[in-house]
């Protein structure tokens, strides 16, 4: 019988969104300010871990039905795909491009191919952190 953890649950619900938002900020800030896929990924993992700690694993698995193994694979595919794309373009592996694009609503945007690469890093880090910690935690032998 679990104790009533109302305070914890309430605070978690609010805090998780703040952390997630911060992690997304870190991820996008990476190119010009401290941050990037690695830190962003770890921060996201921390937010999700908080959920797992506050509630129990079963509940959260229903709420967030991610398969972290697949997430690692997808992250690696994106990162490698970035490199392969530049090869298809006739440049050496992992050549990064950047361009200023004007989008109607958002105004002028600076898009770089480093972003999808970082996204790959992000997904791998989230997947690795959660997969390893959950595997150990669920192990009841």
């Amino acid at each position: 019988m679990r104790k009533n953890l109302l305070m914890l649950h309430t605070v978690t619900r609010i805090v998780v969104f703040i952390i997630l938002a911060f992690s997304v900020f870190l991820f996008f800030a990476g190119h010009n300010n401290p941050g990037g896929g690695f830190i962003g990924g770890l921060m996201t993992a921390a937010a999700l871990l908080l959920l797992y700690v506050a509630f129990d694993v079963k509940t959260i698995k229903q709420v967030i039905p991610f398969n972290y193994t697949t997430m690692i694979a997808v992250g690696l595919l994106i990162a490698i795909g970035t490199g392969v794309a530049s090869m298809l373009n006739g440049d050496p592996f992992l050549t990064q491009y950047d361009r200023y694009v004007t989008v109607p609503v958002l105004g002028e945007l600076h898009l770089t191919t480093a972003l999808p690469f970082d996204l790959g890093v992000y997904l791998v880090v989230v997947g690795v952190a959660l997969l390893s910690i959950l595997s150990i935690a669920e192990d009841d032998a």
Partner: protein
């Protein structure tokens, strides 16, 4: 490729076919198919006799690995032809003999036997016909291999396996040493071709590598030819089937060493060391073998030691013959090449009489079921043909006229007596040992010959000790020894039959350059020399040899005669045991199975290597130039860092230790902040947090076998090693700092600072480097992370039970 190349390769090709012949043509003994080949080769080689005796040589090239100077070149001169004829001729007889010896087609693994035998025959022909040292070496090792396989032919017997292993170890050890010698010869002459090396002989002799090369080559020759102290494998090789003993261990393989010595005499022969080592080891082996032979009780063991002693004799003669390089033949006449003549002649004679004797022993064994001379006796009337052949063989071996052994023994005595008259290499002082050793050895030779013969064929027949009904052997078994025995008689009666055709060209190949152009060796072998010292020596041999034999009963109870095994076997057996136990000890000492020990080894090695390098190359330096100012708060941070580090080993509670490690991590993150590395600081903080969580998770699962609390044990070694590692690393860091200012290297970071925004459109240089400039590193690092996570999953979820295996 020429037909002569095919002579070497044909046995190997036939060996491939033997298993099919054995399997599909069961009604005919496989040996009959095999026998055709050596006979053909023998007839083919005989055709070269006229050319060779005219002094011609034949040379065919076949590049094999030309870039390394390794070619399969065939060179045929007197020496090669002599050996080629011995190998094929006796090979034919031995195969014929083996057909009747291994008559049971079902019980014996004939396919194995003939494959090994053909492999040996081809390898041996390769050894004697090759002009290239590397090709020679390859065939040389093949003979060792084939010999071991043949010795262990009855591999279910423990003694056979022991003998095979012993011969393998000794001959291969010698062979590898010989390879080193060949390599040294290549270093000196830049060629592997024997003829080209001989052409450079006068250059080689002044080279400092001359002596090492000579010793290495001799090690190969001595192990193969069973010279003292490497002779111990030969008596144990007698576990082989008798045809094998007759072929390999009397007529051919053991003479490979003789061949090598003879072949390389033109290269090394002019050196006094060669003279002394070859003749010294030879004469001692002669004495040792003949003295050991007399105390054996097994017929094959007697023959084995007899072979050892006769090989020593030939070796000694080759050594003495090399003195000819120092004299002008025109001035001193035949005096100094008599030894070489005797060596070549005895080589032929030994092959004939020893081959026939081995076959006779095989017949006796075959028909009576034993080779023990204590059980045998009185076979003269029961096996008259065997008896006659044995009589011829033994008398020839003992050196009694009119057989060929007498002639070569007389010449041996002449050479030994001549040796005392040499005025080189201190022969005036030590030369007398040659005739004395030779004479004593001949007395013992006469003794064991009589022992062998009389105990087997004379005296009373003892049927109660024998398991079989004894009768004369089948004709197939008798033909080969009869052929050899008739050769003994023919060579004895008409020795000059061989003189011009083969002995003389052989001497020309052993002693090139001794004779002037167009001159020939004067070879004339005859029985009657008049009343000279050699004749009196032979008389003495007969008298004293007979005396030894007659008194053998009296002496046979002495310790000397009771000890049958060669005392050197003790050395061999024990060094093998010591080798195994010694390496086991060393392995157990260092491979403790404890990770902490290996860690100490590694650390000590690193400290030693780094420390040695610093001292040796004087790379240690401290230079405080260009040191930044240290703000006061750094001191506080560093103090906390050091205090935590020092405290860690003394913490006795696991969880506390983990928390302390976490503190260390956070201090490092703080340092990153201070040194303006925000990305690193963020990552460090997060990673440290995750690490602590993982540690705690892991500890939650630790078994409760030990108490949670423990006191870390103190070990002095560990303290010293840790201090050493810390010291070396610190000194290295300091030196690197100092050196980097004395040898400035342009840093690449300026480039990144300048181009991060221009080329990669990012202001965060760290991130730009990670994803753009050096994105491949990052890619592979996330691969590492992925692998680690999957490994954790595999470790935890796919837990195997005890019975499963990967």
């Amino acid at each position: 490729m020429s037909l002569l190349h095919l002579v070497v390769l044909a046995p190997f090709i036939l060996a491939l076919l033997v298993p099919f012949l054995y399997k599909y043509i069961r009604q005919v003994h496989t040996g009959w198919f095999v026998m055709i080949l050596p006979l053909t080769l023998f007839i083919y080689l005989i055709q070269f006799l006229p050319n060779i005796s005219r002094g011609e040589t034949i040379f065919y090239q076949q590049p094999w690995v030309p870039s390394l100077g390794i070619n399969f070149d065939i060179y045929l001169d007197g020496l090669s032809l002599l050996f080629g004829l011995l190998i094929t001729g006796i090979g034919t007889l031995v195969v014929l003999y083996s057909i009747y010896y291994l008559y049971n087609k079902q019980k014996e693994a004939l396919n194995n036997f003939y494959v090994y035998l053909l492999m040996f025959m081809g390898a041996m022909l390769g050894v004697v016909l090759s002009d290239n040292l590397m090709t020679l070496y390859i065939f040389w090792e093949l003979t060792s291999l084939a010999s071991s396989l043949l010795i262990a032919y009855w591999f279910h017997k423990e003694r056979s396996r022991y003998g095979a292993q012993k011969s393998m170890l000794i001959t291969v050890a010698g062979g590898l040493t010989m390879l080193a010698g060949f390599s040294l010869l290549f270093v000196m002459t830049n060629t592997f071709s024997i003829r080209e090396i001989i052409a450079q002989a006068d250059v080689i002799i002044t080279n400092p590598l001359f002596i090492p090369a000579m010793l290495c080559v001799l090690a190969g020759a001595f192990t193969k030819s069973a010279q003292f102290p490497f002779h111990i494998w030969l008596p144990d090789a007698m576990e082989a089937p008798t045809p094998v003993s007759a072929y390999l261990h009397s007529a051919t393989m053991v003479k490979a060493g003789i061949y090598l010595v003879a072949r390389l005499t033109p290269v090394f022969g002019a050196a006094p060391q060669w003279f002394w080592i070859v003749s010294g080891f030879g004469i001692f082996t002669l004495l040792w073998g003949s003295v050991s032979a007399i105390r054996q009780k097994d017929l094959k063991a007697i023959l084995a030691f007899s072979t050892i002693s006769q090989l020593g004799l030939i070796m000694a003669l080759l050594g003495l013959g090399s003195a000819a390089f120092h004299y002008d033949v025109a001035v001193v006449g035949t005096l100094y090449y008599t030894a070489t003549l005797a060596a070549v002649f005895h080589l032929i004679n030994h092959a004939t009489f020893k081959g026939s004797l081995f076959m006779i022993v095989g017949i006796v064994d075959h028909e009576t079921g034993t080779r023990d001379i204590r059980k045998l006796g009185g076979l003269m009337t029961i096996m008259p043909i065997t008896f006659t052949v044995a009589l011829i063989g033994t008398l020839s071996m003992a050196g009694v006229p009119p057989f060929n052994g007498f002639l070569s023994k007389e010449m041996f005595f002449t050479a030994a007596v001549n040796a005392t008259t040499l005025d080189i290499f201190n022969m005036q002082t030590f030369g007398l040992i040659f005739p004395i050793f030779a004479w004593i050895a001949s007395i013992f030779t006469f003794g064991y010959c009589m022992l062998m013969f009389v105990r087997t064929f004379l005296g009373n027949f003892k049927p109660e000790k024998l398991e079989k009904e004894v009768h004369e052997a089948p004709i197939g078994l008798l033909i080969p020894p009869i052929v050899l025995a008739s050769l003994v008689v023919i060579f004895g009666l008409f020795p000059n039959l061989l003189a011009y055709s083969i002995i003389e060209p052989t001497m020309a190949s052993i002693l090139p350059g001794v004779l002037a152009e167009g001159e020939r060796f004067y070879v004339n072998i005859y029985h009657w020399h008049g009343f000279n010292i050699e004749l009196f020596m032979t008389m003495g041999v007969v008298v004293f040899g007979a005396l030894i034999f007659l008194n053998l009963k009296k002496w046979s109870e002495t310790a000397f005669f009771l000890k049958e095994r060669d005392p050197l076997n003790w050395v061999y057996d024990n060094s093998l045991v010591w080798l195994v136990s010694g390496s086991l000890k060393v392995t157990n000492m260092q491979m403790t199975g404890l990770l902490r020990d290996y860690f100490v080894f590694m650390s000590v090695f690193i400290v030693g290597l780094m420390g040695y390098t610093m001292v040796k190359y004087n790379t240690f330096a401290i230079d405080l130039i260009n040191v930044a100012d240290i703000p006061p708060y750094i001191f506080i941070i560093i103090f906390v860092l050091i205090a935590t580090t020092v405290a860690l080993p003394f913490i006795s509670h696991r969880v506390t230790a983990i928390v302390a490690t976490g503190i260390l991590g956070f201090i490092v993150a703080l340092l990153f902040v201070v040194f303006r590395a925000p990305d690193l600081a963020l990552t460090q903080l997060l990673v440290e947090t995750v690490m602590v969580v993982l540690f705690l998770l892991a500890f939650y699962h630790l078994p409760e076998l030990r108490k949670e609390k423990f006191t870390p044990r103190f070990r002095f070694t560990n303290l010293v090693v840790s201090i050493g590692v810390g010291l070396v690393v610190t000194l290295t860091a300091l030196s690197v700092h100092a050196m980097s200012y004395s040898h400035p290297i342009q840093s690449i970071s300026d480039y990144y600072v300048q181009n991060a925004y221009e080329l990669a459109a990012g202001k965060n240089i760290v991130n730009v480097i990670l994803v753009d400039f050096r994105g491949v590193d990052t890619m592979l690092e996330i691969v590492v992370l992925g692998i680690a996570a999957l490994a954790i999953v595999v470790l935890i979820r796919l837990r195997m039970t005890g019975s499963e295996d990967v």
